[in-house]
């Protein structure tokens, strides 16, 4: 009975007694949700355009963050076996250089991997991205070292109070960045020529090919774009909790977000991220103690799984129509 009470009644009482704290928890969850959405966005972009379920998205974020830190700190030997080392770069220059690295990486991935795996079953493509994740992880660590690093690109990280609720400046900046990113992506997809081509490819590969859309170029573009999204996610996560291996694990957290929002929907990734973020935080704070704590680990997945019973295609996913 005690357990039932602790699970069903007590959390609601707690919420009722201290609504400001509840609001703080919800806002904290929303902020965490924005971060999930950033990673989920990269997934959705690649899945939409090429049908590849890119497990390496989290590692891409880690790799981008590692590269950025490395460039900011300098000290990369440019020419092997000499003492000439790269000087520390200023923030904008380092970011630009990292962006270039991500685009080059997209070219390499397309040329060395995707091009050779055309027409394979989805699970093969999925496994190959896991292989890619292993490779990039080893590569990033070998290049920049595996110790925990901090990114400092000058985002203020102070808390302030408004309407009796604590806000964090950094989280607001992150939210703003995500909003700008989504807006830019939406415009890119809806208004530009390349965006139209991307949507065409997402709709039907063969039809897109037949009207003269170059599939390979599209893949490079979409991997570049999600590389850049990974860069933003990597900076945000890295600045929040340090650049380290665990960064690549946020990719796993992005999966339930995708399920909730639907694999093919950009707004879905955002809304799904927010729901998961809030659900997780509220669940942990109010229901966690009764269940033994650390329920954050699986709560999102359970939420997503239960959700799938009622809407298999996710909140905003295209309705799955099966033709025989």
């Amino acid at each position: 009975m005690d357990f039932l009470y602790a699970v069903t009644v007590a959390p609601l009482l707690d919420i009722g007694q201290d609504p400001t704290f509840f609001a703080e928890v919800v806002i904290g969850g929303l902020m965490a949700g924005v971060m999930y959405s950033l990673v989920a966005l990269g997934f959705v972009l690649i899945f939409k355009a090429s049908g590849v379920f890119n497990f390496a998205q989290g590692v891409l974020a880690l790799f981008a963050a590692l590269t950025l830190v490395g460039l900011l700190e300098g000290g990369l030997p440019i020419i092997p076996f000499t003492d000439f080392k790269l000087p520390p770069l200023p923030v904008p220059l380092a970011m630009a250089a990292t962006a270039v690295v991500m685009i080059v990486l997209a070219f390499a991935i397309e040329y060395l991997m995707l091009r050779r795996l055309v027409n394979q079953a989805p699970i093969i493509l999925f496994m190959s991205t896991i292989g890619l994740a292993f490779f990039l992880e080893g590569f990033g660590d070998a290049m920049w070292g595996s110790d925990v690093k901090s990114i400092d690109i000058g985002i203020p990280d102070a808390s302030f109070e408004r309407w009796g609720i604590l806000f964090n400046q950094f989280e607001i900046v992150a939210t703003g960045t995500a909003a700008v990113l989504v807006a830019v992506l939406a415009v890119f997809f809806q208004k530009t020529r390349i965006g139209r081509a991307l949507r065409a490819v997402a709709d039907d590969h063969q039809a897109a090919l037949s009207v003269g859309i170059p599939l390979k170029t599209i893949w490079v573009i979409v991997w570049s774009v999600s590389g850049l999204v990974a860069l933003v996610a990597g900076i945000m996560w890295g600045a929040k909790s340090g650049v380290q291996f665990s960064l690549s694990l946020i990719a796993l957290k992005a999966l339930p977000v995708l399920i909730l929002g639907g694999f093919t929907s950009v707004p879905g990734a955002i809304v799904g991220g927010l729901i998961i973020g809030v659900g997780e935080k509220v669940g942990e704070v109010y229901w966690g103690p009764a269940l033994g704590g650390a329920i954050e680990n699986w709560f999102a997945y359970m939420l997503a799984m239960v959700f799938l019973f009622f809407r298999p295609q996710g909140l905003f996913g295209e309705r799955i129509i099966e033709r025989v």
């Binding site: 890619l132 490779f135 033994g292 680990n297």
Partner: protein, 358 residues
Amino acid sequence: MLYREAGQFKTSYGKDQSILPIVQDRWVLGIVLVVAYVVVPLTADDYWFNAILIPFLVYALATLGLNILTGYAGQISLGTGGFMAVGAYAAYKMTTAFPELNIIVVFLLSGLFAAGVGLVFGIPSLRIKGFYLAVATLAAQFFLVWLFNKVAWFYNYNPSGTIEAPPREVFGVLVTGAAATPMVKYLTALTMATVFALAIKNLVRGRIGRSWMAIRDMDIAAEIIGIKPLQTKLLAFALSSYVCGVAGAEFMFLHLGSVETIAFDINLSFLILFMVIVGGLGSVLGSFLGAGFIVLLPILLTNLPAMLGFDVAAVNAKHAELMVFGALIVFFLIVEPNGLARLWQIAKEKLRLWPFPY
């Protein structure tokens, strides 16, 4: 010349439907079994048993289990680690509660618990498919590992949170525990793997296996010809989890000896999935080949630089190992997406015609 079925006539339906219709195949299998049961125990040392052979057999069993689900029934699962954990913890609870129960029986019973859990987490497969299902099985993975970590009853309130294999005898010979010899553990794992491989091979050749493959290839068409998706998919989930559960119990009792829940984390699930894919989806032989490949590869990568005379710092070697492992997986998928089993098949076809090209 050597591998030819000319002159081998089948005079009964039973012979025509045998698992290995060609005499040479039976010879090869016989030789492999003799080597595994006689030559290896006589020659291998403890390192080989502990680091290569026992993990290989345990992983092969888990791969067989996942192959039922992913390879034959076409349902992607990332929850293998969780189901293996169920098997391991169930076996541990049973053998500490009933110490006189034969440990082999404990292994076989522990699979039943895993099967039950697998059934529950298989229910979403009726509504969802493909990667959506894969993520749903991740729920099983994370929830089960969390559960075994949080609820102290599962590890008998041991303050360190680990479970340790107690010494248990079968017919007077120590099979588990720290004092058991690696050879006995190896022979136990080998027998289990052989029996399960035979059982699964027969299962997938029969009506059940065919209905799984029908569901995998096109579920709507399968439904129309009278296969019930509900029962078929759930049966695949239950049987697959059963085998994975037994493998999990072996993983803990025969391979590691003592485990924490971290041993059953998501990486284990990925490792097993790698083995299934590298070995070949929907192939019993492939399960063994894949497990062997993935077990040997890291060992080879660790020792190769030293063998070739390079002196690499240990830290760099670890990174290089990750890189090479990842690159090899991608390379392998590009070269032969159907896995090692397919390579074996191609080799056999070539051998059949040898020395003529056509």
